[in-house]
């Protein structure tokens, strides 16, 4: 069975709404755009809203704390800027502030990333903001199957989960098969010996392409797809770098205080003895997203840049400390 990530999201929603009548789906136009879901589950559980992201997110938090399990679609990541208080200060903190009296089983859906030419007020990769904030979980899949499994896991989770869909991947055909995927587990998309490429969302594809090019040069690259950004699967990352001794973190989001900074810092702290070379980051620039096609296509790091960086890294490397120690 084939389908896109968009289909997978709809399937996961339908699966969970069938399984658990507490799950509701709310947002600007969700009942119109997901007509099949609206038909099956009805107007009480599938709700269009006025145009007001803040109250959509606040309604979800209030409903989550009192027995429902809302999934809200805020459409595009920059629109979350209108809902930061409800997501961060309410859903993320009121469990703690109240001494554990409440929990917030809710999911926030949003699209982001280059691919649609819609510009910086529709496209801004801000997943790192939520990883930095307490009480929240963050998911950003790269395949339809992961989208389906991770969205189901997110809906079943008792914490607020931010689910970001990469716009460039949303309508790419794939196989949204129905496997359970726990939050917090990275996937090794391609095993390798010489260098670890850590990524998520659209740049996973660029890493796999780069790995093909590198293979031609006799460099064996391992590609890790984080899938879940928070909680972060540190074990998988560290185990890989312990084997390869080299790491490059790749994502579309901008560099400073991004997910790549976190991954690089974890490696520098916990895999230091295994490192044979500097930990590199390849990211989008410190700039808003341009609308113009040519500029937008140049925003996220591509396979060529990744392969070049990996080659340089593999040339300029030394033996890991643990071996040097015996030297």
């Amino acid at each position: 069975m084939t389908g896109t990530m968009n289909d997978a999201i709809e399937q996961a929603l339908a699966d969970e709404m069938r399984r658990d009548e507490r799950v509701i789906f709310v947002g600007e136009g969700v009942a119109t755009k997901r007509a099949a879901i609206a038909r099956e589950f009805g107007a009480e559980r599938v709700r269009n809203t006025p145009l007001a992201e803040g109250i959509i997110a606040g309604t979800a938090a209030g409903a989550a704390a009192t027995g429902l399990r809302p999934v809200i679609d805020l459409l595009f990541a920059p629109f979350l800027c209108y809902a930061m208080d409800e997501i961060v200060n309410s859903a993320g903190k009121l469990r703690y502030i109240s001494g554990g009296q409440f929990s917030f089983p809710m999911v926030v859906l949003a699209g982001t990333g280059s691919g649609w030419g819609v510009g910086a007020q529709h496209n801004h990769n801000i997943e790192a903001w939520f990883a930095h904030s307490p009480g929240l979980k963050v998911v950003m899949p790269s395949t339809p199957a992961d989208a389906r499994g991770l969205l189901k896991a997110a809906i079943r989770d008792d914490n607020p989960v931010l689910f970001f869909a990469d716009l460039a991947l949303l309508y790419v055909p794939g196989a949204p098969d129905d496997a359970d995927i726990a939050l917090g587990q990275a996937a090794i998309r391609r095993p390798g010996r010489d260098v670890t490429l850590v990524s998520y969302a659209k740049t996973v594809g660029a890493c796999l392409e780069a790995a093909d090019q590198l293979a031609a040069d006799g460099i064996s690259a391992e590609v890790i797809d984080l899938r879940t950004i928070k909680p972060l699967d540190e074990e998988t990352i560290l185990a890989s770098v312990d084997r390869t001794g080299r790491a490059i973190v790749v994502h579309e989001a901008s560099r400073m205080c991004g997910v790549g900074a976190e991954v690089a810092a974890i490696i520098a702290e916990q895999a230091f003895e295994s490192l044979r070379a500097p930990v590199l980051r390849l990211t989008g620039p410190d700039a808003p997203a341009p609308a113009s096609f040519v500029l937008e296509q140049a925003f996220a790091p591509g396979a060529a840049r990744i392969a070049d960086a990996a080659r340089t890294l593999c040339q300029s490397s030394r033996a890991p400390t643990r071996d040097l120690a015996d030297a």
Binding site: I24, E44, R45, R47, T49, P50, A52, G54, I55, A57, G58, T59, A60, A61, G62, A63, A64, A65, T66, G67, L68, P70, D85, E86, N89, S90, L94, R95, Y96, I97, S98, G99, G100, Q101, F102, S103, F104, P105, P134, G135, D158, N159
Partner: protein
Amino acid sequence: MTPELKRLALERMMLIRAHEQAAVALQQSGQAPGTCTSVGQEASAVGVVWALTPHDEILTNHRSAGHLLARGADPRRIMAEIMGRADGYCGGKSGSLHISVKDLGVLLTSTIVGGELGLVTGVALSRKMQRRPGVVACFFGDGAACEGRFHESVNLAAVWNLPILYVCENNEWQAFVHRRETMLTERIGDRAAAYGIDGASVDGNDVAAVHDAARAAIARIAETGKPFLLETVTYRLRGHYEPDDQAYVDPAELSHWLARDPIHTLRARLEADGHLSTADFEAMNTRVARAIDDAIEFARNSPAPSLSQLTTDVYA
């Protein structure tokens, strides 16, 4: 309200006042951080909360002691929370600014101005979808009415027919800004019309008037299935947050409202109507004083939270 109920209301209002005065004293003697007191607003709290059933729910904000005590919260656990102790309603993690008591239906208390407005629609939606009768009361200030979330919340509740009693406690001040600096209209209750729902404004210092208005509003919610916007016109007799000398407050305005102190006026009315003897009042005073002394004693003896609590209750 019957004379008997008014007497009970007077005593509860005295309890709230005594609690706030104790919190002030603790702050002044360095035993507790500052708090936002509800001194002067006791009638609004008791009048509305006593119009609710035990199954109704309440959302409140940074100025919550009146609502909590009116609802029957334990002064000892409130005081312990204010002092950051383990026996506080939130284990000391909240402090005075966002005390929730889920068991009493006081939910999701937030100190983000407008926070309660953003959350109440979801609480009411759960109630409605779970087919639980009754209402959710949402207390917020005249300042919160300036936040965009007020507009979004009332509009969504109206469109979705959510059983919400919006209670705007208009105390004329928004921290250090006078309400008149923030809006051209006088009556916040009138804004209901913009959302196609009913609203009203009531003398927030007259507990019986507030109680009647709240009961009428709740009846109207049952009738229409729509939210109701009730404004209680009252005044913040102390500063915004302890300590606050209120040097910025017009003395004439303050004395005007001091003369309308909801506790003094209620007591005077009850006495004039022969429903309250000096002995009754003294007895109330004694009970209230004892309750607050107990609360302080309890809070002082409550241990500080253990350091392990620093990272608990973050994730479910």
